[in-house]
Amino acid sequence: MSAANGNALEISSLFAGYGRYDVVRDIDLHVATGEAVALLGPNGAGKTTVLRAIMGLVKDRRGEIRVGGVDLTRLPAHRIARGHAALVPEGRRLFLNQSVEDNLILGALHLRSDQSRVKRLLASVYELFPVLLELRRRPSSALSGGQQQMVAIGRMLMSDPAVLLLDEPSLGLAPLAIDGVADALIKLREQGRSLLLVEQRVDLALRVCDRVYVLAGGEIALEERADAVDAEGRSLINAYLG
């Protein structure tokens, strides 16, 4: 689903926080259909809050969040997750008491009445991550960090969302696993999916994404095309630190 102006995700004037104070203020950002966008910034800048606000997991949010013409700020979290957006959260948060395939199936919960579609989605996930096919009956708690990350990404894909959201997928992973994640994300981008990627690893973000925002102190500090950054990594790092 894409809006008339070609944006998969459009955020305007987003304020969000917990309790009395806003963690992020006056956020404007967009992800065009088929685009991969990175959201960078130092710890505590509010990047995770932005993703959680999109998913409806932040109680205090004001502003507009549009996916495919629908304003997500009017929907409860479980409706948002039914095809508008899906999240790979920080730390993966798999349902560790269940198997790999169970986690994937749960991702497609809202599509359960269309079993053939669920099977097709499942097949596409196994195509993206062949190793999961072997591991599919294993309890997800028995997997390595990198494998769990694959399951988390798979679970996200299973709901066939308009926008893919990922929160620091490289966290705690060995370099090889990080490469695997990066390759998968690049493949998804090539398939025309729309991605919003929160990351701390600048190199990973630049590899995968077309455009980059920098969030600092709760506000957008910078927006640049990824290829413009490649040449001068320094400008990005400076933006980090205000």
């Binding site: 309790g19 104070y21 710890n43 800048a45 705690g172 701390q200 600048v202 190199d203 709760g218 980090y240």
Partner: protein
């Protein structure tokens, strides 16, 4: 602190402490209340037997509820064992008097001490089982006692025993009325005063810290296990006294101390208002008197009762006291309605607004404070000033921290730190950087005593401390901050900072229960406030001293933690990602604070992610990656190291 853009102190209300002149006003109120209480007791002592009976039961349960609140509300240890402790007091009194002729007044301290000791055991239990399971275990304690009381012949079985009769006043004091009323109201008054004393003492913030963020309390030097056990002992002692009083009302039987009673006491606390001085009393009065007084069909009365439970707690989760506070606030707001300008001014004195956002003027004032602080650094906290250390001689000097051969893993097979050596020279700022998951936080937890290494040594200021816990580090002058939010949200910034001063207040835990009447405590409290105030001013958060931490911006919370770490005049402070969530201006301000600390001779260990900050500020830097030290040395050298660029910047 320059005024200017800071304007009024928008949020300087809420928490009562820290305002000059308040204590005197409070003492007047307290003394008047006590006088009224005594008058009321006199009236009751001359009332009808019926009313006296009611009051006796209500008062006894009020004592129980107050005692339970001390552990449940203040420390978060939900006990369903107080009915059992209560039973112990009542049965002990009755049996020792009836069967062995013990003097009734001797039996009071016997109950207090005896049941108190049992309470120490239960308190120790809370260290092993926590939360729900602790409640369950204490519940079983009550059930067991009830079962034994029902089954053993010498406890009178189901029918119970006839309790002793409280001696009446001698003829000279007859005018006072019923002696038993005076006795039970006196016990209740003592209980309330103890609760009040604890809440007004500097121990209270520490207790709440143990409840909400035990690592923070431990890092401040509180031996949390000991404190919990002792508080439980105190609480049990009060329950024992309640039992003693209760035995005089006639019959002591198992049905009065069973499971439902245990739950009822907790209900009284929650319904009345948990963690308040008078909430438990109100709750106890309501639950004891309501069923008797509402003279309708007994079944409908219970239905109404149950309905009230639901209605009150759903509408006012803070209980009756919450309801009363809301009424009071509304009345106060209405009185103020005329004088408040609507624009740009925050809603008056509301501490729980539904979703009030930080107004632009307030954001500006936080930024302005940070800018001011960076440009004109405040004097260091009093304690640091009072015990200055000479700045370290360049390139040498004693070691503040010396870690050798540290190995650590959370679970077998996944080592987090591998053979790490880490050395910090006194009086320097030492940075610890590395990618996420490299083990930095773990190393800091080991140095701060929250964890124990599997092998290796940790020496702080020359003393081997790796086997000791976090409180020992604080007592040796090593304070730390945490990355996550660890402050007590319902207390003010100043009160949270005072927790950091714990190790400097002699025998606080022992003196807290009688705090207001002990000599010199007012002076101590005043000095403590001064220390907290200077510490907060040092970090340029002085204007937030009386604001509740729940209402302050994230950056101010970080600063408050830092102030708490500095207030006692530490030798070294360990900061775990202090810059998280700070704006660029606030970051600059933090840099100036840390430089100040260094010039006062305090060593600083810093975990951070922002490379420019770290390399500009730190004298030496250690880089960790995947649990191993990559390189360690002077900042300038480390910065240009190739491996560091590779590892840290991912390039």
């Amino acid at each position: 602190m320059s005024a200017g853009a800071l304007g009024d102190q928008p949020l300087a209300r809420a928490a009562p402490s820290g305002v000059r002149g308040r204590p005197r006003w409070r003492s007047v109120v307290t003394v008047s209340a006590i006088a009224l209480y005594v008058l009321g007791t006199y009236g009751l002592a001359h009332g009808t037997l019926y009313i006296q009976g009611l009051v006796l039961v209500a008062a006894v349960f009020a004592v129980l509820a107050v005692s339970l609140d001390l552990v449940a509300g203040v420390l978060g240890l939900y006990s369903l064992g107080h009915a059992g402790l209560f039973a112990l007091g009542a049965y002990a009194t009755t049996l020792l008097y009836t069967n062995h002729g013990w003097n009734l007044f001797v039996l009071l301290p016997v109950c207090v001490v005896g049941v108190g000791l049992v309470g120490l055991i239960l308190g120790a239990l809370s260290l092993r089982v926590s939360g729900l399971y602790f409640a369950i275990t204490t519940f079983v304690f009550t059930l067991l006692l009830t079962a034994f009381a029902s089954d053993l012949s010498w406890t009178g079985g189901f029918g119970g025993l006839v309790g002793p009769i409280f001696p009446h006043f001698s003829s000279g004091l007859n005018w006072l009325g019923a002696s038993l009323i005076w006795c039970c109201m006196a016990v209740l008054l003592v209980a309330i005063l103890i609760s009040l004393a604890l809440r007004r003492s500097p121990l209270y913030p520490v207790l709440l810290a143990i409840r909400d963020a035990e690592p923070f309390a431990a890092a401040a030097g509180a031996r949390t296990a000991r404190v919990k056990i002792c508080m439980f002992g105190l609480s049990a002692a009060m329950a024992g006294a309640a039992g003693w009083v209760f035995s005089f009302q006639g019959i002591v039987s198992p049905g009065q101390f069973n499971g439902p009673v245990a739950v009822n006491i907790l209900v009284m606390v929650i319904l009345g208002g948990i963690n308040t001085t008078l909430g438990p009393v109100i709750g106890a009065a309501f639950i004891s008197i309501f069923p008797v007084e509402v003279a309708i069909n007994p079944f409908w009365q219970e239905v109404l009762f149950g309905g009230l439970f639901i209605a009150v707690i759903v509408a006012y989760p803070a209980g009756f006291v919450g309801f009363l506070t809301m009424l009071g606030r509304r009345a106060r707001d209405r009185l103020r309605a005329g004088s408040t300008v609507a624009q740009g001014r925050p809603a008056a004195a509301v501490s729980e607004p539904a979703g009030r956002r930080l107004a632009p003027t307030e954001i500006a004032s936080v930024e302005a404070a940070a800018r001011e602080g960076a440009a004109h650094p405040e004097a260091v906290p009093l304690a640091i000033e009072q015990s200055p250390r000479s700045p370290a001689p360049a390139g040498g000097g004693a070691l503040a921290v010396e870690c050798r051969g540290i190995n650590f893993a959370y679970t077998r097979g996944t080592p987090v730190l591998i053979d790490v050596d880490f050395v910090v020279r006194q009086g320097t700022i030492h940075g610890l950087i590395g990618p996420n998951g490299s083990g930095k936080s773990t190393l800091v937890d080991l140095i701060a005593g929250r964890l124990r290494p599997m092998s290796g040594t940790i020496s702080l200021d020359g003393k081997r401390l790796e086997r000791d816990g976090a409180p020992a580090r604080a007592r040796h002058g090593f304070m730390r901050t945490f990355q996550a939010a660890v402050l007590v949200r319902e207390l003010s910034a100043s009160e949270n900072v005072s927790v950091g001063y714990y190790t400097r207040i002699p025998r606080l835990a022992m003196r807290a229960a009688a705090w207001p009447i002990l000599p010199g405590t007012r002076r101590e409290a005043g000095a403590l406030r001064e220390h907290s105030a200077t510490a907060l001013r040092f970090v340029a958060a002085g204007q937030w001293a009386d604001a509740r931490v729940a209402n302050v911006p994230h950056g101010v919370e970080q600063l408050t933690q830092l102030a708490a770490a500095c207030v006692a005049g530490p030798k070294a402070v360990i900061l775990d990602e202090p810059l998280a969530g700070l704006s660029p201006t606030e970051v600059e301000h933090m840099a100036s604070i840390l430089s100040e600390l260094k010039s006062a001779g305090v060593s600083v260990i810093l975990i951070e992610h922002q490379p420019r900050f770290v390399f500009a500020l730190c004298d030496e830097v250690t880089v960790l990656d995947a649990g191993e030290v990559v390189v360690s040395g002077p900042a300038a050298e480390v910065r240009t190291n190739d491996r560091v660029r590779e590892v840290y910047l991912g390039q």
